[in-house]
């Protein structure tokens, strides 16, 4: 409930439209309530007294009221849709903006699938609540109170005989309303489970096929599917029972009116018109009551959705600018120093990923990181742009602690090519210009040439205008990597970080890429996380990591003399041709 109250702040900016919608609704209710009275007039004064003029005039009035009602109803709907859609848009934007501020640590906790649901289904549930509230939510109580009042005015005695049935109906509505939410929630849970199985299978279809586990997965899916079906049937049975039970109560009430009202009419206490009017008021009292039961589900799911949405909105970004954060000057050299840096994921103290790392990277140097999978190479380079913050020690750029630098300034001096190349749907040109949309064609081509992408891009029929499908599925792994490298080069960073960015590219092309980067001064300082010794031979400094510690550093020449590990790596790769750590490690190292 507290979250729903907070959610109301999203509706507040639309208070004018909301008010307009509610005013129209109130007028609509007043008109609705006048109809039974007019019918009574037609019957008692027109039909029974054979006064044709009363029938015609009253009918015309009713017609007029219906037309005005229709106009009001349309107006009410227009305003309520504007409010609910506006609220949904604002909410989506707020969630999206907040997710943009998340750091890697936040995203490790909140899964992509969950965040997608927050932005879609949960927002829709809240939108539904706003819409329903403005259309029916307030109409029901108004209509009920008005009808009750008019029932008593039409015939107090008859109204009194309705009390037990009205109470019984209220109790029944309460009974159903409170039992509905758990049933719907169970369906939602089963649906989530089915989605999980499905998502895992779509994402991991190669693994499922490779390990011949299709039967196992099919059994899992069939099980989740059967579960969902069982639960859904329960809900539908419940709804199929609720509808007729409540209708029966209304019908019974009508029969009671005919029976009790009929006797009164026979005694001369009540006119036929009054009986008909009373029946109509009875209907307008009970229908909103039944509607309340239907709305209970909307309420329940909105409460759940509000809670889930606020869980996202209330998550503080793990990494934020310090209060007195500074901007890096244009003249930044790109001297990176690690001082006694240690790091654990999630702030836990067991299983340190990096331990007491001390390292100086001079401006203009090319530094390569080698080590087995899990040695901490990727983590080490992720600490420089503050994807995560160090647990102990500090990292400085030109002497300034990265935690004292504004994030936008910090990120503007560097470009990182991650292990997995992420491309967006759009043209190749748009993808390369992603980090610098204002770059001209000559610069784009230059970057693509350096990344050894130009030739294969031109081989496509549409060249740079070739459309990249979602996640780049129409390109090979090597092609995607080279476009990702071109994208980083075009940004002209002071610090370029290549995190195993050429793993899918052959050795020859890889060498060409590194030569081009070094020769054309695309970046001042270059950091390369590598699996292959051939990648790092020309580096100014090679850093060997083992279990989170730096075990050796130097040039190829000095290391081959001084480091046994390096010598071993070189021997296994350069002579035997066996790549380091059995190929291309995929998991973050």
């Amino acid at each position: 409930m507290g979250n729903l109250r907070r959610f109301s702040s999203f509706v507040r900016p639309y208070w004018k439209q909301s008010l307009a919608s509610l005013v129209l609704l109130t007028c609509l209710v007043a008109l609705d309530l006048s109809i039974p009275r007019l019918i009574q007039r037609i019957i008692d004064h027109g039909i029974y007294r054979h006064d044709e003029r009363v029938i015609v005039v009253t009918s015309l009035i009713m017609l007029g009221i219906s037309v005005v009602s229709a106009v009001f109803a349309v107006g009410n709907n227009v305003f309520s849709v504007r409010v609910s859609e506006g609220v949904a848009r604002d909410l989506r934007e707020a969630i999206f903006r907040h997710i943009q501020s998340f750091s890697y640590g936040n995203l490790d906790e909140q899964k992509t699938g969950q965040l997608m649901v927050r932005l879609t289904s949960d927002v829709n549930a809240l939108k539904g609540l706003v819409h329903i509230s403005l259309r029916i939510g307030t109409r029901s109580p108004l209509l009920m109170i008005g009808s009750l009042f008019l029932m008593v005015r039409t015939s107090p005695g008859l109204a009194l005989s309705m009390v037990p049935l009205l109470l019984l109906t209220s109790a029944t509505v309460g009974f159903f309303a409170t039992r509905m939410e758990p049933l719907f929630r169970a369906v939602q849970e089963k649906l989530d489970r089915l989605n999980n199985v499905l998502q895992e299978n779509v994402a991991g279809v190669q693994v499922v096929k490779a390990f011949v586990r299709a039967d196992h997965e099919q059994a899992r899916f069939a099980d989740a599917n059967a579960d969902l079906t069982r639960r859904s049937i329960r809900v539908m049975e419940f709804m199929s029972t609720m509808g007729p039970v409540l209708t029966l109560l209304v019908n019974t009430a009508v029969v009671v009116v005919i029976w009790v009202g009929g006797q009164r009419s026979i005694r001369g206490d009540l006119s036929i018109g009054q009986i008909v009017a009373f029946t109509n008021y009875l209907m307008t009292t009970m229908t909103p009551l039944i509607m309340t039961a239907m709305l209970a589900n909307t309420w329940a799911s909105a409460i759940v959705s509000a809670r889930r949405v606020y869980r996202v909105l209330d998550t503080p970004p793990e990494i934020r600018d310090a209060e007195n954060a500074v901007c890096l000057p244009c003249s930044t050299e790109g001297r990176i120093v690690f001082e006694n840096v240690s790091f654990h994921y999630g702030g836990s103290h067991d299983g340190a990923v990096l331990e007491d790392v001390n390292l100086t990277i001079e401006p203009g140097q090319t530094v390569a990181f080698l080590g087995a999978t899990g040695a901490g190479k990727t983590t080490l380079v992720h600490l420089i742009p503050r994807f995560y913050d160090v647990t102990a020690g500090r990292i400085t750029i030109d002497g300034v602690d990265v935690r004292q630098i504004r994030q936008d300034s910090l990120l503007s001096v560097m470009a990182l090519v991650p292990q997995e190349s992420i491309l967006f749907s759009g043209t190749i040109r748009e993808n390369i210009r992603y980090g610098r949309p204002e770059a001209d064609d000559a610069e784009t081509v230059l970057a693509a040439k350096a990344a050894q992408a130009h030739d294969f891009i031109l081989a496509f029929e549409s060249g740079y205008d070739t459309h990249v499908e979602e996640r780049g599925v129409n390109l090979s792994g090597g092609q995607k990597q080279r476009i990702a490298i071109a994208r980083a080069l075009l940004a002209r960073p002071k610090i370029l970080i290549l995190d195993d960015a050429t793993s899918s590219v052959d050795v020859e092309t890889e060498t060409k890429i590194h030569n081009a980067i070094a020769g054309q001064h695309f970046a001042r300082t270059t950091l390369i996380v590598a699996q292959r010794v051939s990648t790092v031979l020309k580096a100014d400094k090679i850093v060997i990591l083992d279990q989170g510690r730096i075990v050796a550093q130097g040039t190829h020449r000095t290391l081959i003399e001084s480091s046994a590990i390096y010598r071993e790596i070189c021997e296994s790769q350069l002579t035997g041709g066996i790549p380091l750590d059995n190929g291309r490690g995929r998991e973050p190292a």
Binding site: N225, M236, S240, P244, L248, G262, I266, E470
Partner: protein
């Protein structure tokens, strides 16, 4: 009850859209062969042919009962209240109650049967979609 089922169809449809790590969705496809799709969907109801015939009879029955109620109300007013016949009024009131009771029981029974039919058919659709990934039949939607 309709609301629940359509909502679920929509959710399942959303679930069928693969969401990778990037989770970006493409353009929503419009149904291309609407008629063919409907015929294919209807084929899922074939195993329930006999039950559906029963449902049809039930629907006709409860609709007629539902219509009978207001008719009896007219009879009560015109024939018994107007002529001040209390015992006739009692008979008609009792009859109305009975008709409404039967109508609602039939309606509930229809709902229960349809719950099984529609959800089991949906289950079959989902199973077929999952077990035949080579032809995911997106034109169904």
């Amino acid at each position: 009850m309709m609301r629940a089922s359509t909502r679920e169809v929509r959710d399942v449809r959303a679930a069928m859209v693969p969401r990778g790590p990037m989770g970006m969705r493409g353009v929503i496809e419009k149904p291309r062969h609407a008629r063919g799709a409907i015929v294919r969907l209807l084929s899922y109801l074939k195993p329930f042919g006999g039950v559906l015939a029963l449902v049809f009879v039930l629907i006709v029955a409860f609709t007629l009962c539902g219509l009978l109620g207001p008719y009896l109300m007219g009879v009560a007013i015109d024939r018994y209240i107007a002529t001040k016949d209390v015992s006739g009024l009692a008979r008609v009131a009792a009859l109305m109650l009975g008709v409404y009771l039967v109508s609602n029981i039939l309606q509930a029974a229809t709902g229960w049967i349809m719950a099984r039919v529609s959800k089991n058919a949906l289950k079959q659709v989902r199973n077929d979609l999952f077990f035949a990934p080579s032809e995911p039949a997106p034109e169904l939607f």
